[in-house]
Symmetry: none
Subunit: 225 residues, 2 copies
């Protein structure tokens, strides 16, 4: 399970991150709301664990509201020292799915994390992938960047889908050949380069922030960076 932890208290962050990793989850950490929002918007997570109060203008509630307004449905678990009922209600109203008061027992955090992670896996097979302002709709087989429709060929679609499903991670040529082309050997040509190039023309041209990045001698990566 890919979890994004947004927590400014380094001590708490280390403790939570370590525990979740030991439970077999992949954890990204952001120390403030701005970075958290950026990561949440650009990569795909199964769950967000947010401190309710964060430095830097963007606090937890604000972060969730922003994400929800962009159509994101990723479950959110709030952590907070604010234990008043009103505060808890506010967090849930903003779009949070759960609210845990500090100090908490790690076992309970873990149980709640897994309770939340359980849901989306079962219902709702992901129908949209998103990286920054790039959106791929599995249902309509449609791609939009910045809200504008982009025409994409079938193979390009598969390629993009695969990149987006691994947003923020390097995808090797071999993986692409296997998963997108069903080749189990090296075709000794530059098929991949060509298709990546075509995708770039359609997705990145006209935008100053390129999303598809080359990782020399390794492969490609899609990211909002």
């Amino acid at each position: 399970m890919r979890i994004l932890l947004v927590e400014d208290d380094a001590e708490v962050a280390r403790f939570v991150k370590k525990g979740l990793q030991e439970a077999g989850h992949v954890v990204e950490h952001a120390a403030n709301g701005r970075d958290g929002l950026f990561l949440a918007a650009s990569e795909q997570f199964d769950l967000l664990v947010l401190d309710r109060m964060l430095p830097g203008g963007v606090d937890g509630v604000r972060l969730v509201e922003t994400l929800r307004s962009q159509g994101s449905r990723t479950p959110v678990l709030f952590l907070s020292a604010l234990s008043a009922v009103d505060e808890r209600v506010r967090g849930l109203k903003a779009g949070g799915d759960d609210y845990l008061v500090k100090p908490f027992a790690f076992a309970e955090l873990l149980a709640r994390v897994e309770a939340l992670g359980r849901r989306p896996a079962t219902d709702a097979p992901t129908t949209k992938l998103r990286v920054a302002d790039l959106e791929l709709d599995l249902l309509s087989r449609t791609v939009t960047r910045g809200g504008k429709r982009v025409e994409v060929q079938p193979r390009e679609f598969r390629l993009l889908e695969h990149l987006m499903r691994h947003a923020g991670q390097v995808v090797t040529r071999t993986m692409l050949l296997e998963k997108v082309w069903d080749y189990h050997f090296d075709p000794q040509t530059n098929v991949i380069d060509v298709h990546v190039s075509r995708l770039r023309q359609k997705l990145d041209k006209g935008f100053d922030k390129p999303l598809i990045h080359t990782v020399r001698n390794a492969g490609y990566m899609i990211r909002a960076d």
Copy 2:
């Protein structure tokens, strides 16, 4: 929202039921685990609010485990006087989605109820259409009849999708031309007949129950009949 409340304490039950109803929900109440399980298994609810400890053999945890083992995914919120971390973890591990310790503020219960109810309602844009044993998966653009994959061309797929979205209703040729072909005139040919014919060959051949029915001088209709 249809909510099932399973709570043996009459006082608490009355209080919770009233509050939820005032918030616009429909509430069924069961006073013990046995009745609760029966109701939960026989009717459709959007959420279960369960007391953790119940009289009559079937307690909250047991109830959830039973439901989950039957494949039910209805969200569950536990209420309990047992506040120990271990107890809370047990409840969540059993398949609960949230856990609220008594005594609680009603505002918080309501917020959590609505947080739980939010998810399934909002996501899940229909991804599958079904008529009898015929299934069309919008996500994978795949058609199966009786569990067996059927290969279908794009245009045929659109045609079938349109028929299935109006299952049980007659679909006129004009409608089909408009919606499936984007024609706004009569092509004076038998395009439709041809495609319906092809669909039939793929879907109905080899099954004794045809699904696609001709309605003379009107159009076509898909139906399990």
